[in-house]
């Protein structure tokens, strides 16, 4: 039981952090499909720099910086150069996955696995706590979720972000600098993705292998949609996906008659249902919607 919870939390944490990043973007009106790429870059950078410097903290810092820089690039392309955010997001994912593999092969001359000398600090190891392998990132993630909730739902900055995403006319008439606010939201998202990647690579395995994110960024995106672009909703959806994943693997080990793939499909199926439901709700308010549409710019 404790082990199940422990594995679930470890599975859920990267998804939850990336989902928070997606929530920041979604609330200011950008569907962020680059989460997967950012996460992979974060995972690679944290491991590579940890190998190079022998210091996990330096690895984390560099991962955060690199992901923040990529987020600035994403912002410049989508907000300043007006590229389509969806295509640019998918492009960022392709670029992120490709670039981390490319860098791995260039620097470490292997396409396989690179292992860091040490992983993230596990504060509970050896204390007798029933979940000893939880990393520091897993442990602080509830705090990060809480902080995101405060920032998004209880701060002036969060109100600005939400106004931009929902009703740009309101943001403009409140005198908010739309571009700069979006930049901040995307950079915060970049740092969160770096943490997500670092947990994935250094949380348990202390290693990186190419494409190790394995679609978690897209599951995180599903969590954003399912969670209604709310930080707590996204976190809850992530926890659910993490638990479902763990359950699926255990079911497979225990030879239950449920195919693993069906469990893995769950996030995507639920997202389609959520999107369809939103569509129905939207259609109800279609007339008012179009009236607002004219004010968007």
């Amino acid at each position: 039981m404790w082990q199940f919870l422990e594995t679930s939390l470890q599975d859920a944490t990267p998804i939850a952090l990336a989902a928070l990043a997606g929530t920041f973007a979604a609330r200011c009106g950008i569907f962020h499909l680059g989460l997967e790429g950012l996460m992979c870059v974060g995972a690679f950078t944290s491991v590579a720099v940890t190998i190079g410097t022998g210091n996990v903290l330096t690895g984390l810092t560099f991962a955060a910086i690199v992901c923040a820089m990529l987020s600035v690039l994403f912002w410049a392309i989508t907000v300043k150069l007006k590229a389509d955010p969806i295509i640019a997001g998918l492009a960022l994912t392709t670029l992120g996955l490709g670039a981390s593999t490319f860098a791995q092969e260039t620097i470490f001359s292997t396409r396989g696995t690179i292992t860091a000398p040490e992983g993230l600090w596990q504060p509970f190891a050896g204390t007798g706590f029933p979940m000893p392998t939880l990393s520091i990132i897993v442990i602080v993630t509830p705090l990060i979720i809480l902080a995101s909730w405060i920032v998004l739902r209880r701060s002036q900055f969060g109100f600005s972000i939400s106004a931009i995403g929902e009703f740009p006319y309101a943001a403009r008439s409140a005198g908010i600098n739309i571009d700069r606010t979006r930049l901040t939201a995307l950079v915060i998202g970049g740092v969160l993705c770096a943490l997500a990647g670092a947990q994935l690579a250094l949380g348990g395995l202390t290693s990186f292998s190419s494409d190790m994110t394995a679609g978690r960024g897209f599951i995180a995106f599903s969590a954003v949609v399912l969670g209604g672009s709310h930080p707590l909703g996204a976190a809850a959806a992530s926890l659910f996906f993490g638990a479902a994943n763990t359950l699926g693997i255990q079911a497979q080990l225990a030879k239950w008659p449920v195919p693993l793939e069906l469990v893995l499909m769950l996030p995507y199926i639920l997202t389609i249902v959520a999107v369809a439901l939103t569509g129905v709700l939207l259609r109800k308010g279609a007339v008012a919607q179009s009236a607002f549409g004219e004010l968007r710019s």
Binding site: I150, V151, R154, S155, Q156, F157, F159, S160, S162, A163, E166, F167, Y169, A170, R172, S173, A174, G175, V287, S290, A291, F292, L295
Partner: protein
């Protein structure tokens, strides 16, 4: 002592179009100033310039004699100018407290929900409002949202408050409440600019009135006691409203052996609407109990202030919009349930009121814009571009469209030529009924004359024409009969020689 608010040679261009052209107005302190004008006269642009939402192309705004930092809504607010937007500016998913917080420049970076709600509950109570600060904006009534917008503005301690068409969204009973509040605010020393559509409201609330027409000042800040409703109507719709050439169409008709005869001969009813109700369309209100009858060879003009159901009527007539009850007949056959193409095949042609978004695809070539209509009407599955281009070239030449090649994108043409392309496309063979919405809006004089001549010529050939227009002059020039729409209904059916004042009065409501 300088006036509370002054606009000096204010000008705003959108591309080539001057929405506001050299407007100078000065508003004394502590009064209610009404600004009126037709749609497109530039009222909303004017107010957005003053509140700092737009940056002017030229000119300046002075508050208490101090120039306003232009194009910056925050500094405008700091200098004491705030605006209540017509479409409202509070995000619908926010709670009342959150929305108020969003607009408060002095708000702390992080705030607790309770503290926030307590603060704004108090502020609301202090201003005599019973709105619950915990409710979501989208759950509030329109009236409550508006009073919240006003409170939101007042919290910034403004000296000048702009209200952009505040009555447009309210029911008549609610307007009284709004006006009482406006009077109270004026009595407390605030200067208020209020943009209005309806003359009775102007006389009910304003201390002074100004009129904008086509982006220019038609009447500068005048005390309300010094103008009559008739004078105001004339300023709004244009000074040359009673000139003799106005009846040119009528004279033409009389000249050609009495227009009435030519109507009687081709007296078959082409279009008939009976008790038509329709739900609201994308941009306009619902229709209620509309009866219409148009005979062959007749031009029916439908006048009215925009937003009174004309767009919905256009949609319903073209088959694009659905009716909820009532019947539509075309030459005696019921077509109520038929879609666009089925009606087109029966000879209905459509000139939409927004040519750039509904009439042609601007990113598509001229010949394709024309070919699509023909192909659908003919029911053909494939075509030869060469043949279609040749056909398009002939049609464009007939309608004297200035263009270089048929492969040119429609968006490269001027507005007048785009409208000619639409006429060339729509007014080919087999036309029985033409439905035109604001067919000459934004066109220059020559293009306007051309389009009107085209439509009248069609009527002479026995085609029934319905023209829906916000431009009274146009209605008067081309119509055989005039119907006036207000509140989704036909409120008046007049002959073509009805005095303009009568038509205007029916449009804006009785100005008694």
């Amino acid at each position: 002592m300088p006036d509370a608010l002054e606009a000096r040679s204010l000008t705003k261009h959108f591309g080539d179009f001057a929405a506001i052209d050299d407007v100078s107005l000065s508003f004394p302190r502590g009064q209610v100033h009404a600004v009126v004008g037709q749609n497109g006269a530039g009222k909303t642009t004017f107010s957005r310039l003053i509140c700092g939402l737009y940056e002017p192309t030229a000119g300046e705004v002075l508050v208490d004699g101090t120039p306003l930092r232009v194009g910056d809504i925050r500094s405008a607010r700091q200098q004491g100018v705030d605006m209540v937007h017509q479409n409202f500016s509070l995000p619908p998913s926010f709670t009342v407290a959150e929305a108020m917080q969003l607009f408060d420049p002095g708000a702390p970076a992080v705030v607790g929900r309770r503290a926030m709600e307590r603060r704004w509950s108090e502020a609301l109570r202090r201003r005599g409002s019973a709105i619950d600060a915990r409710r979501r904006i989208r759950d509030l009534s329109v009236e409550a949202r508006q009073s919240l917008e006003i409170i939101r503005a007042l919290e910034g301690q403004p000296t000048v408050l702009l209200l952009d068409e505040p009555t447009a969204v309210l029911a008549p009973s609610e307007v009284q409440g709004l006006f009482e509040q406006v009077r109270r605010l004026r009595d407390s020393g605030l200067t208020i600019l209020i943009i209005l559509h309806k003359l009775p409201e102007v006389f009910a609330i304003a201390d002074t009135v100004s009129v904008l027409r086509e982006g220019r000042v038609a009447l500068a800040v005048t005390p309300i006691g010094e103008v009559t409703a008739e004078e105001l109507t004339r300023h709004i719709i244009g000074p040359d409203s009673e000139l003799p050439q106005a009846h040119s169409r009528a004279e033409d008709a009389v000249g050609s052996a009495t227009g009435a005869d030519h109507l009687d001969q081709a007296s078959g009813t082409v279009l008939e609407l009976e008790a038509v109700d329709a739900p609201p369309s994308a941009s306009d209100r619902s229709l209620e109990d509309v009866d219409l009858r148009v005979r062959a060879g007749e031009v029916l003009g439908i006048a009215g202030v925009e937003g009174n159901g004309q767009e919905t009527l256009l949609d319903v007539l073209s088959g694009f919009g659905r009716v909820s009850s009532g019947t539509i007949r075309l030459e005696g056959t019921e077509v109520t349930g038929l879609g666009v193409l089925a009606r087109r095949r029966r000879g209905v042609r459509f000139i939409p009121s927004d040519r750039n978004s509904q009439g042609v695809s601007l990113t598509t070539s001229l010949w394709e814009n024309i070919a699509i209509t023909d192909l659908l009407l003919e029911g053909r599955r494939w075509f030869s571009p060469r043949g279609r281009k040749a056909a398009a070239a002939t049609r464009l030449a007939t309608w004297k469209v200035k263009h270089r090649r048929v492969e040119q994108l429609a968006g490269e043409l001027s507005g007048g030529n785009v409208q000619r392309v639409i006429l060339a496309r729509e007014l080919a063979d087999g036309v029985r009924l033409v439905i035109a919405g604001n067919p000459t809006r934004g066109l220059d004089l020559a293009a306007t004359a051309f389009v009107r001549a085209g439509l009248t010529a069609l009527a002479q050939e026995g085609v029934a024409v319905v023209i829906v227009s916000a431009d009274l002059e146009e209605i008067r020039d081309v119509s055989d009969r005039i119907c006036v729409m207000r509140g989704g209904r036909i409120v008046a059916a007049l002959e073509r020689n009805a005095p303009l004042a009568t038509v205007g009065a029916a449009m804006v409501g009785d100005a008694a």
